[in-house]
């Protein structure tokens, strides 16, 4: 994979993965996916949605699953939930094989799925919680405190006896999340949990997700396009692109991985074509901006290589006026990884075509 090779190049592989590897050795994973592959259709019309995913998730962790549309996130999540049969691979949740013992595996997981109501709109908030508690295999009569607590935590106390269809979009989203939690399972999948929520509700939900993991020991797996949510609540992020995992590490490690690798360099004078070609052949030149006798370069390189970059520029008759490290946020990391994966894919296809 592209990221792995880039990490081997810059020597960060061991550092960035060490934290998760250490954790993995201490406890058995609550979710284990080995060699997951899913192909829709047959023959020439077949489309490979997931091309070989391996992942394991530790109990009590909050894991973000992200990727652009069509990356294979939904197929992966639905395969883990047993809603989709994989073409190949083994999936276990709490040591139960999901596709061999589906019903038993469902004792351990609950989910809210994006784009679905997940609740009965013609029933009240409290009725929904009671029903999903029972559907989840619990006796709601013994769990009135938990149900009332969920109603309270999601700020739905005043609406507890209101039918869901009369609630706002954000409130409906809260009800579906509360219903997933009312099932009282080890693992909870939340697909775009903050979609439609206002800022305050999003923050409350983020706090609640952390509390569920830290205090209750629940494992939360969430997919989101909201990088702020991923950065704020997730212990770890799994980034998918084109049906495969392109990065799997702690959020901090992923940011560290790219941090200080990109420099904004301003040189005095216009960079000519020959010099630009030379730079492009030796460094990852991300952007060149010529204006009023100066040239601003965005270059991706590591610390040692940076000095060679300066030498190369001076050999071309350009002196460095200023430079600064570009701090990457999680959005940049995500875009970088998915772009890089697509670039690798394109190159691989070109090589195949030449062969």
């Amino acid at each position: 994979m592209s990221l792995e090779s880039s990490m081997e190049r810059d020597g960060t592989s061991d550092r960035s993965r060490s934290s998760s590897n250490e954790t993995e050795q201490t406890t058995d994973p609550v979710v284990s996916v080995q060699g997951l592959r899913k192909e829709y259709g047959k023959g020439d019309d077949a489309v490979e949605a997931v091309t070989g995913v391996d992942l394991s998730i530790q109990p009590g962790s909050v894991v973000g699953l992200l990727g652009p549309n069509g990356a294979g996130k939904t197929t992966t999540i639905k395969s883990i939930l047993g809603l989709i049969y994989p073409s190949e691979g083994d999936i276990e949740v709490s040591d139960v094989n999901v596709h061999k013992n589906t019903t038993t595996a469902h004792e351990h997981m609950g989910a809210t799925l994006e784009g679905a109501r997940n609740t009965y709109w013609r029933l009240t908030v409290r009725e929904n919680l009671e029903i999903f508690s029972v559907i989840g295999g619990n006796d709601y009569r013994k769990r009135t405190e938990e149900i009332e607590s969920l109603i309270e935590q999601f700020g739905l106390a005043e609406k507890a006896d209101t039918v869901v269809r009369e609630l706002s979009r954000g409130q409906k989203q809260k009800v579906s999340l509360a219903c997933a939690l009312a099932r009282d399972t080890d693992v909870v999948f939340l697909d775009e949990p903050t979609l439609g929520l206002d800022v305050e509700s999003t923050r409350r939900l983020q706090r609640e997700i952390r509390r569920l993991a830290e205090d209750d020991g629940r494992t939360i797996i969430l997919s989101s396009h909201d990088m702020d949510v991923i950065r704020t609540v997730c212990d770890r992020a799994i980034i998918m692109n084109d049906g495969e995992i392109v990065a799997d590490d702690t959020v901090e490690s992923l940011i560290d991985l790219f941090d200080a690798k990109t420099y904004d360099v301003v040189v005095d004078g216009d960079l000519d074509e020959a010099a630009e070609q030379r730079l492009a052949s030796e460094f990852f030149l991300k952007n060149v901006d010529r204006r009023s006798g100066k040239t601003a370069l965005e270059v991706e390189t590591d610390g040692d290589e940076f000095y060679r970059l300066v030498d190369t520029l001076e050999e071309s008759g350009l002196s460095v006026e200023s430079f600064s490290e570009v701090e990457m946020d999680f959005d940049d990391v995500f875009l970088h990884l998915t772009d890089q994966a697509e670039e690798d894919e394109r190159r691989a296809q070109e090589v195949t075509a030449h062969e």
Binding site: T75, L113, D184, D216
Partner: protein, 276 residues
């Protein structure tokens, strides 16, 4: 949290299933009570349909010969046939309608993920729907008897098992169409045609063509007519009749369920569970 949930499941001595039945029954009842106008309109609609036929076509119905089959034979036959059709219609359509609705609502996946098992949850829904369809059927029967001034033999010990076994064969059809709804989604037009097929099955001329009794509804319809119009007791039927009634109930419901599970497999393989 989760440990407690597993404990609940481990301690499940059948009380979990009873609670599931009660919960789904309660849910249906709440919806009926909350949308009582809708529910009343359903009953009134069915009754008006009958009333139009009864008052408008009384002469025609009375003059049509017995050879036309059970439905057109007599007014009593019409009432019994209508009683059965009301319940059969409800028992058949409720499952496929619910699958379509739950799929649209995005709650189907939640039911599928129940540790009770998707088959059990659907089985409970079928059971509750059958109970409710029998209540609706009984209500319709009372209204029809009041309207026509007719009396019928209502021997519960005979009528109830015949009705249950007859409806089970229809439930099998319901499972088939529910499975098709799971895979193909938009099957409501085909599904609506089934109500006319049900009328045909209820009125099937089994006396002239005994082989028709192996079809769903047919044997039960004939036996219900005999019980309610002529007072025949359950144990007075021949072993062949009883065997055909039980056999069609078991075969159609089991085959229907297996076809549903096959469709479920196809839906999971294609990744279309819940897509609408």
């Amino acid at each position: 949290m989760s440990n407690a949930s597993v404990t609940d499941a481990e301690q499940d001595d059948g009380s979990g299933l009873l609670l599931l039945i009660w919960t789904i029954f309660r849910m249906n009842f709440l919806l009926m009570a909350r949308y009582k106008v809708n529910f009343a309109a359903q009953i009134v609609g069915m009754y008006l349909f009958f009333a139009v036929i009864f008052f408008g076509g009384r002469a025609a119905v009375q003059n049509v010969g017995g050879g036309m089959g059970a439905l057109g034979g007599t007014l009593d036959a019409l009432i019994v046939g209508w009683f059965l059709w009301t319940m059969a219609q409800s028992a058949y359509s409720s499952l496929s309608t619910e699958i379509t609705q739950e799929s649209r609502w995005g709650t189907l996946e939640q039911l599928f993920m129940s540790p009770h098992g998707f088959g059990t949850v659907l089985g409970v829904k079928v059971f509750v729907n059958m109970l409710l369809s029998m209540v609706i059927g009984s209500l319709m029967l009372a209204l029809m008897l009041l309207t026509t001034g007719r009396t019928l033999a209502l021997d519960f010990v005979s009528v109830f098992p015949i009705v249950v076994l007859t409806l089970l064969s229809v439930v099998g059809l319901g499972y088939v169409f529910a499975g098709l709804a799971l895979v193909y989604k938009q099957i409501s037009n085909v599904s609506q045609l089934m109500q006319f097929v049900l009328i045909g099955l209820i009125a099937a001329p089994v006396a002239e063509l005994p082989i028709l009794s192996v079809l769903p509804l047919v044997q039960g319809s004939e036996m219900l007519q005999a019980t309610m119009r002529e007072g025949v007791r359950l144990w007075e039927f021949s072993p062949l009749q009883l065997g055909t009634l039980v056999g069609t109930a078991v075969v159609y419901s089991v085959v229907g369920y297996l076809i549903f599970m096959l469709c479920l497999h196809v839906a999971r393989d294609r990744g279309v569970m819940g897509h609408y």
